[in-house]
C-alpha cells in the first residue's frame, strides 16, 4: 500500500501539483514556440517525454559512477547524446515533425526541465522510480503543451488538430509569439486557481467529515446520558 502511494504521489506531483509547465514554469522556450498548433505541441511534448525518461534512467543508473564535481557536464553529455539520437531518428522516420520543430529540436538539450529533474530526482533515486518520475513529468509537460496548443490553434487558426471547424474565422494574433505569451500567462493563472480551489474544497469536505464524526459521537453520548 505504501509503495503504491509513493508511485501515485510521483505521478500526481508530476502531472498536477508540480506540473513543470504551469506550476514550476520550466522549459518555457519550447512551450511558447511550439504551441501554435496542437499537433506540433504534442510532438514536442512526446519528444521531451522520451528524452526525459531515458535521461532519468541513464543518469540514475550512473549516479554512483559520476563524480560529484563534474556531474552537470556529465548530465549535459548524456542529454545531448540522447537528443542527437532523437534528431537522427525523427529526420529519418517522421520528417514533417522534424521540419516543424526546426531549431527547437536541438534546444531540448538546454531545456531546464530535463536538467532539473536529473539534478533534483534522478541523481538521488533508483532507476525504476526515476523512470516513473520521467514519465510523470513528461506527461505533465505534454498535457500542458497540448492544452495550450488546442487553445491557440482554435483561436489563431480556427481549427482543432488540423481540422477546420470555425469555417475560416480566425484571429491570427494568437499564432504569433505575442499571443503565446498571453495564452501562457492566463493558462498559468487558470491552472493555479483551479488547483487551489479544488484543494480548498477537499479540505472543507475533510473538516466537515471530521465534524460529522464528532457530532455523531456527541449524539450517541447524549443518547446514553438520556
Amino acid at each position: 500500500m505504501a509503495e503504491k502511494n509513493k508511485y501515485g504521489k510521483i505521478f500526481a506531483d508530476g502531472i498536477i501539483f508540480n506540473n513543470p509547465t504551469f506550476m514550476l514554469v520550466l522549459g518555457t522556450c519550447p512551450t511558447l514556440a511550439m504551441t501554435s498548433s496542437a499537433i506540433s505541441a504534442f510532438g514536442m511534448g512526446v519528444s521531451v517525454l522520451v528524452i526525459l525518461t531515458l535521461s532519468n534512467i541513464v543518469i540514475s543508473a550512473l549516479r554512483k559512477v559520476i563524480p560529484n564535481a563534474v556531474r552537470i557536464p556529465a548530465y549535459i553529455v548524456v542529454i545531448a547524446t540522447l537528443v542527437t539520437v532523437l534528431k537522427l531518428f525523427l529526420d529519418k522516420v517522421i520528417p514533417p515533425l522534424y521540419d516543424m520543430m526546426g531549431t527547437f529540436l536541438p534546444l531540448i538539450v538546454v531545456n531546464c526541465l530535463i536538467l532539473g529533474r536529473a539534478e533534483a530526482f534522478a541523481s538521488k533515486h533508483g532507476v525504476f522510480e526515476s523512470a516513473l518520475d520521467g514519465i510523470a513529468n513528461g506527461a505533465g509537460f505534454t498535457v500542458a503543451l497540448v492544452i495550450m496548443g488546442i487553445i491557440r490553434e482554435f483561436l489563431g487558426a480556427g481549427s482543432f488538430f488540423g481540422i477546420e471547424i470555425l469555417g475560416g474565422f480566425k484571429i491570427p494574433f494568437f499564432s504569433t509569439p505575442m499571443g503565446a505569451f498571453i495564452v501562457y500567462g492566463l493558462c498559468i493563472a487558470a491552472f493555479v486557481a483551479i488547483i487551489e480551489t479544488a484543494q480548498r474544497h477537499s479540505r472543507i469536505k475533510k473538516t466537515r467529515m471530521l465534524d460529522g464524526v464528532t457530532l455523531g459521537d456527541r449524539a450517541e453520548t447524549d443518547k446514553e446520558a438520556a
Partner: protein, 206 residues
C-alpha cells in the same frame, strides 16, 4: 545597408526573446531588478559572440569530416567549456567585473539563446548544400554571423532591461492573487512583444 539590416533584424524585428522566444527562462528568472538584468544580459551577449566565433569554424570542420550530426554534442560542450573558462578568466583579471556579472555565468550554459544563435548561424549549412543562412536579406558569412550574435545579445539585454523596469512597477500594483507572479509577467511581456512587432514592417529594399 547590410549592416543596418542585420542590426535591426537581430535586435528588434527578430528579437530573441519577443519574436523568437529563445532564452525565456533567464528572461523571467533574472529580470526582477534592473541591476541583475543588466549583468545577465551583458554576460549572455559576451558568451553569444564568443560562442559564435568558435562554433562557426568548428561546424565547417565537422562538415568536412562528415560528422555534422555531432553538432549538438560539440556545440554544448564548447559552450560549457567556454563559460567555465570565461568565469576563471574574469575572476583572475577583473574582480569588479566578476562581481558584476560572474554569478550569472554558470546559468548561461543552459540558456537557449546561446545554443540557438550557434544553431541559426550554422543551420543552413546543414541542409546539405553549401549555402548560407539568410537573415534580413543578408547571406551570413563568418563576419555577419558574429555581428548577428552581437546584436542578438544586445537585443536580449534590451529585453531584460525593459522587462525589469516594468516588473519593478508591477510590484507596486494590487492584483488578484491568481495572476500575481508569472501570469502578469507573461501578459506584460506580450504587450512589450506587440511593441516590438512594429519593427517587422521595416523593409530593406530586398
Amino acid at each position: 545597408m547590410q549592416f543596418l539590416a542585420i542590426m535591426i533584424t537581430a535586435a528588434f524585428s527578430g528579437n530573441f526573446v519577443f519574436s523568437q522566444t529563445y532564452g525565456i527562462c533567464p528572461f523571467l528568472g533574472v529580470s526582477k531588478q534592473t541591476k541583475s538584468a543588466v549583468g545577465m544580459g551583458a554576460a549572455v551577449t559576451v558568451v553569444m559572440v564568443i560562442a559564435t566565433m568558435i562554433t562557426y569554424p568548428i561546424y565547417i570542420l565537422l562538415r568536412m569530416a562528415d560528422v555534422a550530426f555531432l553538432e549538438i554534442l560539440v556545440f554544448i560542450f564548447v559552450i560549457a567549456a567556454l563559460v567555465q573558462m570565461l568565469e576563471k578568466f574574469i575572476k583572475k583579471f577583473s574582480p569588479p567585473l566578476y562581481n558584476a556579472m560572474g554569478i550569472y555565468l554558470p546559468l548561461i550554459t543552459t540558456n537557449c539563446a546561446v545554443l540557438a544563435v550557434c544553431e541559426i548561424t550554422s543551420n543552413a549549412l546543414a541542409t546539405g548544400v553549401w549555402e548560407m543562412a539568410v537573415i534580413g536579406g543578408v547571406s551570413l558569412n563568418f563576419g555577419w554571423s558574429v555581428l548577428y550574435a552581437l546584436f542578438g545579445g544586445l537585443g536580449f539585454l534590451m529585453a531584460m532591461v525593459v522587462m525589469s523596469g516594468m516588473r519593478e512597477k508591477i510590484n507596486h500594483l494590487s492584483l488578484p492573487k491568481a495572476i500575481q507572479g508569472f501570469p502578469i509577467t507573461m501578459v506584460t511581456a506580450a504587450f512589450i512583444a506587440m511593441a516590438f512587432y512594429v519593427f517587422t514592417f521595416i523593409s530593406f529594399g530586398g
